[in-house]
């Protein structure tokens, strides 16, 4: 009770502070060379109130205060404490409060950490960020208040959807939001810098740090989501091209492009317009993603409670921000690239441009694929689905030149360079092709596009691997990320090409056998837990080479809400994952058993961690330089 009250009024106070900050910014803007301490303390106060509000919601969940509607809808007394806490952001209202927390946290850190930049720029960044913050305060209070009362107070809650009760998913939203919402600070700062016409090399190196932070968290956030899908959604897939996954991928693509582009701006003071557009696009795409997911305009496996009013609010707010940025861009920004815009075809900036070109293409594929069904439905009321085959067909062929460019690009120097003494570039290429051909030939997977794709990924792999030894610490961060990317593509390719699967129906005591594998369904156990009942199948699986493994996949029937889930049993080793899952079939006495061997599964996760590690190294290096 008391928590809801405190939480709610903290939100109101936060909103009032947000509004008053506009006033202080206005007063401070013209008549001071130092940042008014009032502004800083008010920003802190706002953050403080959001934290209080967030803690109140967490406490309400922990003590299972069912007078709170959000808690009632998403929690249950029998839930383990860990999932009670993670349930705070596992729902629409709570996750929006998390949005707000990240928004206020980033602007506070930005004001504290930013030095050597004009005061006016800081104030203006604050103003733009406050526009977003106030918008979200209104959204939260008006349409999705997390502190609504219900009376009479229910004695028990409705519980959290069991597929959301997973450790990876518990930390997925906070990490993802740090990246997703963190990009708001890039948006605000670029609008401020454009208005003041101070986009320069020094601005670029200042904002690069924030881009890196967002990028690292976004990368890790997507990784966690993917791991969750692999463990919880069943059948061993890790990326479904589901709209919700796509909307997290789109800002990532834009942010990655921006990360490369900002390097050019930092070194050569060109491509300013492009940097501005990308910075705006990143946050706009994050918002757009939120709109697509929360409004229920798309249907996906991840369902939030849909409410048209919410959708409308975000839509209007999103387009206010878009039109605001368009106006600022066209009104204030004058392209002053021209005097220095000389590109030599063989130079680092050209290679980065080409990187941008491909990234934008990938982005457009994902964007168009995701929203096209909506457009078609509105215009001609035809309903179609756009799924994995569409994305694969349009992306995979373009991945080949992209990978090659990734290998060669970093070898080039700024302004102008020649490819002398680079025979190893060619010899590595030939080796890669031969190797890829051999691998595929040996396993009857002789498809031309796979050969070429694997060769180009191997090429990037070898080139970056060589650089670790030859170049040592020069460009190490970039090299780690590129190496990680080559590893990612290779793992995904080998994973999809060489995974094998057995699908069969087995009764207890029965055995399935083919030339390679023998599956014995030994017995069934039952287990009673606090929040679910489980049926555990005991399997003994032996390979033709004599290896034996015991598996115990589960069928769980959760009590609140009553939902049956299958928990896969996964044995992870360095080289492959063995994955087994069972399912009940309506009115039959057998179980549907699926057993998969998925090579290089662990490497997919590891390579994404490597990619973000590159970002972390770069961030730390920057701090040391100062």
């Amino acid at each position: 009770m008391i928590y809801s009250l405190v939480g709610y009024y903290s939100l109101i106070l936060g909103l009032i502070i947000g509004l008053s900050l506009f006033y202080f910014s206005y007063k401070n803007f013209n008549n001071s060379n130092i940042l008014d301490t009032k502004i800083l303390s008010f920003t802190f106060l706002q953050l403080f109130f959001v934290i209080i509000s967030f803690l109140c919601l967490i406490f309400s969940f922990v003590v299972s205060d069912f007078s709170n509607e959000t808690v009632f809808n998403n929690s249950h007394t029998t839930k383990p404490l860990f999932y009670k806490i993670s349930g705070t952001w596992g729902n629409h209202e709570g996750s929006l409060l998390l949005w707000l927390l990240v928004l206020t946290l980033f602007i506070f850190l930005f004001l504290v950490r930013t030095k050597n930049q004009p005061v006016k720029y800081k104030i203006l960044t604050l103003v733009f960020q406050q526009i977003i913050i106030v918008g979200f305060f209104l959204f939260l209070i008006k349409t999705s208040n997390p502190f609504n009362y219900i009376f009479p107070i229910p004695t028990e809650g409705l519980g959290l959807n069991p597929i959301l009760q997973d450790p990876a998913l518990a930390i997925h939203p906070p990490i993802l939001y740090l990246g997703y919402v963190g990009s708001s600070i890039i948006f605000s700062s670029v609008l401020a810098a454009t208005s003041l016409k101070i986009i320069s090399t020094s601005w670029a190196s200042h904002i690069k740090k924030w881009i890196l932070i967002s990028w690292i968290f976004l990368t890790l956030g997507i990784l966690l989501g993917s791991i969750w899908a692999y463990y919880e959604l069943g059948w061993g897939g890790f990326w479904f091209w589901d709209p919700v996954e796509n909307v997290s991928l789109m800002p990532w693509l834009a942010l990655t492009t921006l990360l490369h582009c900002i390097l050019v701006l930092e070194k050569k003071s060109i491509l300013t317009s492009w940097v501005i557009i990308l910075s705006i696009a990143t946050f706009t795409l994050s918002m757009c993603g939120t709109f697509l997911v929360r409004s229920g305009i798309l249907n996906s496996v991840h369902t939030f409670a849909n409410d048209p009013e919410r959708g409308l609010f975000i839509l209007v707010f999103l387009f206010i921000l878009i039109f605001l940025s368009i106006l600022i861009f066209f009104f204030f920004h004058k392209d002053n690239d021209r005097k220095s815009s000389s590109f030599f075809w063989l130079s680092k900036e050209t290679s980065i441009l080409i990187n941008n070109w491909f990234m934008m293409y990938f982005l457009s594929v994902v964007l168009i694929g995701t929203v096209y069904p909506i457009f078609l439905d509105v215009i001609s009321s035809q309903k179609i689905s756009v799924g994995p085959p569409f994305y694969h067909k349009l992306m995979i062929p373009f991945l080949i030149p992209f990978l090659l460019m990734m290998a060669i690009g970093p070898k080039l120097r700024w302004i102008k360079s020649q490819l002398k003494d680079k025979t190893y570039l060619i010899s590595f290429f030939i080796i890669s092709i031969l190797l890829a051909f051999l691998v595929l030939k040996n396993f009857n997977q002789n498809i031309l596009i796979n050969t070429i794709l694997i060769s180009s990924a191997l090429y990037l792999f070898f080139i970056t691997l060589r650089d670790f030894f030859v170049k040592k610490y020069k460009n190490i961060s970039q090299n780690i990320s590129h190496f990680g990317f080559s590893l990612l593509i290779l793992s995904i390719l080998f994973n999809s090409l060489f995974s094998s699967e057995i699908i069969t129906n087995l009764k207890i005591g029965e055995t399935f056998e083919n030339s390679k594998t023998k599956i014995v369904f030994e017995s069934v156990d039952q287990k009673k837990e606090k929040n679910y009942n489980a049926i555990i199948g005991n399997f003994l699986i032996s390979n033709h080479d004599g290896g034996e493994d015991r598996f115990s996949p589960q069928l769980r029937i959760y009590n609140q809400p009553v939902i049956a889930t299958s928990e896969a049993d996964i044995k992870t080793t360095l080289m492959s994952d063995k994955f087994i899952v069972i399912n009940l079939v309506q009115n039959q006495d057998f179980f549907n058993v699926r057993y998969q061997v998925k090579p290089f599964m662990l490497w997919i996760w590891l390579s994404v961690i490597l990619i973000s590690l590159g970002g972390i190294v770069s961030l730390l290096k920057k701090d040391n330089e100062k």
Binding site: L233, G234, W235, F240, D242, P243, N299, V301, S341, F343, W345, T350, L353, I354, W357, M360, Y361, S364, V365, I368, G369, Y372, L376, S380, Q382, K383, I384, S385, V386, G387, P388, P389, F390, K393, L394, I431, L435, L438, V439, N442, F443, N444, L465, R466, F469, F494, F498, S500, E501, I503, K516, S566, M575, S576, N583, V585, Q586, N592, V597, P599
Partner: protein
């Protein structure tokens, strides 16, 4: 370096030795491209709803009857509409879907080409 490459080849050759059954492969391929009407975010392959399970049986039966992949898609399209196919066919409804990204790619290429050429003038 040489050692590493050799190592890699050895790994590759010993890890994957499972050959796949064509029939099952074909069935999985087809069911991955069909969308489940019950849990609407998942493919038939990923879903384990009653509907998806029956559909898998039917796909097997159609393969046994000798229908090609395209014919099977056509069969389900007739029953449930275009929506069930994850791989939208190229027709007047989907020209924009398929060609817009490619146009954007060409457009981007043109801009870069122009920027590079400017230098020579």
């Amino acid at each position: 370096m040489k050692v590493l490459r050799f190592f890699l080849i050895i790994i590759l050759f010993f890890t994957f030795s499972v050959l796949k059954a064509d029939e099952l492969d074909k069935r999985n391929n087809i069911t991955k491209n069909l969308r489940c009407l019950v849990c609407q975010g998942q493919s038939i392959y990923d879903s384990d709803s009653e509907f998806a399970n029956s559909l898998k049986i039917l796909v097997d039966r159609k393969i046994d009857e000798g229908l090609t992949e395209a014919e099977i898609y056509e069969y389900f399209k007739n029953k449930y509409g275009e929506w069930i196919l994850y791989d939208p066919k190229l027709n007047k409804n989907t020209y924009i879907l398929w060609f817009m990204p490619l146009l954007i790619f060409l457009f981007g290429g043109a801009i870069i080409f122009k920027k590079l050429k400017k230098k020579h003038d």
